[in-house]
């Protein structure tokens, strides 16, 4: 899922300068699961903004709502109609939702309430870790299911760098070297031979280096 985290309150209050009527808008997708932008976080954000604005002597009218998703057009229709009634909409969705509102709801001034961080897994309550870089050219069949693009600090394709020491990454010794883990895992699976396959130089255009990515499926188009 997409992992996000709340922006600092002073940054948010700065964005809201001059705003008198605000909609704090959550999303029940990924950001709700990672406790950054669901119903509960909408309530907390609204309470914090109310307190912040009280302290600065600038009262604010705040409405709260949470959409099923902010990245599907059907859920944005009511916002396109009524969103213009607010001076601003503070979205707690990931960057996708915020962009989509900006595209679909031209009369709405949308602001980000969270920083979109990465694609990650939930290790335990309150702990998330990056597992995928969304590079568009998956090589997990060669690496025992462990991603060197997302989990190697240098995104190396053919084994560890010279800085890997004792199975730890030189960039951050608290992080295991993913190439050491790939080796250990393939060995345990009796697939060490996979390591002899040389991955060619990557074509990073699929990772967004060739501009914004788009996908079409003719069979699903209206």
């Amino acid at each position: 899922m997409i992992i996000a985290e709340r922006k600092p309150l002073n940054e948010i209050l700065g964005m809201l300068s001059g705003v008198r009527k605000l909609l704090v808008l959550g999303c029940r997708g990924c950001v709700a699961v990672c406790s950054a932008g669901g119903d509960k976080e909408v309530g907390l954000m609204a309470a914090a903004i109310r307190l912040g604005r009280k302290l600065s002597g600038e009262p604010i009218e705040i409405h709260e709502d949470t959409l099923v998703r902010q990245c599907d057009p059907e859920y944005l229709e009511p916002l396109a109609e009524k969103g213009g009634d607010y001076d601003a909409v503070l979205s707690l969705a990931c960057g996708v939702g915020i962009n989509f509102i900006a595209d679909r709801c031209p009369g709405v001034r949308v602001l980000p309430g969270v920083n979109t961080s990465f694609y990650g897994a939930n290790l335990s309550s309150g702990e998330w870790k990056e597992m995928c870089a969304g590079c568009g050219a998956c090589v997990l069949h060669l690496t025992g299911g462990l991603c060197p693009v997302a989990r190697c600090a240098k995104s190396l394709s053919n084994g560890p760098c010279g800085g890997s020491q004792g199975g730890r990454c030189e960039i951050d010794p608290s992080v295991p070297c993913i190439w050491q883990q790939i080796h250990d895992r393939l060995k345990a699976l009796n697939q060490e031979e996979r390591l002899r396959e040389i991955m060619p130089v990557r074509d990073w255009t699929t990772a967004g280096h060739g501009g914004p990515r788009r996908r079409l499926r003719e069979d699903l188009l209206p």
């Binding site: 309150l9 509960k40 907390l44 309470a47 009280k54 302290l55 002597g57």
Partner: protein
């Protein structure tokens, strides 16, 4: 009311009503007790709302860690109080405006002490709330 203090107390730690304590002169007149079935039920938003609604200090009284009626309720509350403190810092507020206390069941003494300590503590603070209240007072006296 100036100097308002809100105490979120669990059902097992605050069994003496605030009115009784006030009548006996044991706690500040400005204390408001909000009872919860368990402090583990307390959300950070409730703490922020209490401050936005006029409280100058908030304390949360939960069971002692080793005798919480709901096992981990007061530990959860303690983590939420810590998070609320972080949010207060971001708003240029003294994090000491919110405090967690762990109280033996059925004893009013620690609640009385917490209310008194909070009253003294907020009187000595210099943060965004102090300045907002001073400026509000100056406006009213014009």
């Amino acid at each position: 009311m100036k100097g308002d203090i809100v105490g979120f107390c669990c059902n097992y730690t605050a069994n003496v009503p605030a009115e009784v304590l006030k009548e006996a002169g044991l706690v500040p007149e400005t204390l408001r007790i909000r009872r919860l079935p368990c402090t583990g039920k307390l959300e950070v938003a409730a703490i922020m709302d209490a401050l936005a609604d006029g409280a100058e200090g908030v304390f949360v009284a939960g069971c002692r860690v080793d005798e919480c009626h709901n096992l981990t309720g007061s530990q959860r509350a303690s983590k939420r109080v810590a998070y609320a403190k972080e949010m207060l810092k971001e708003l240029d507020l003294d994090p000491g405006r919110v405090e967690m206390i762990f109280v033996p069941r059925g004893e009013a003494g620690p609640i009385i002490q917490a209310a008194r300590e909070m009253k003294t503590r907020i009187a000595g603070m210099d943060d965004a709330m102090t300045r907002a209240l001073e400026s509000e007072g100056a406006e009213q006296s014009k």
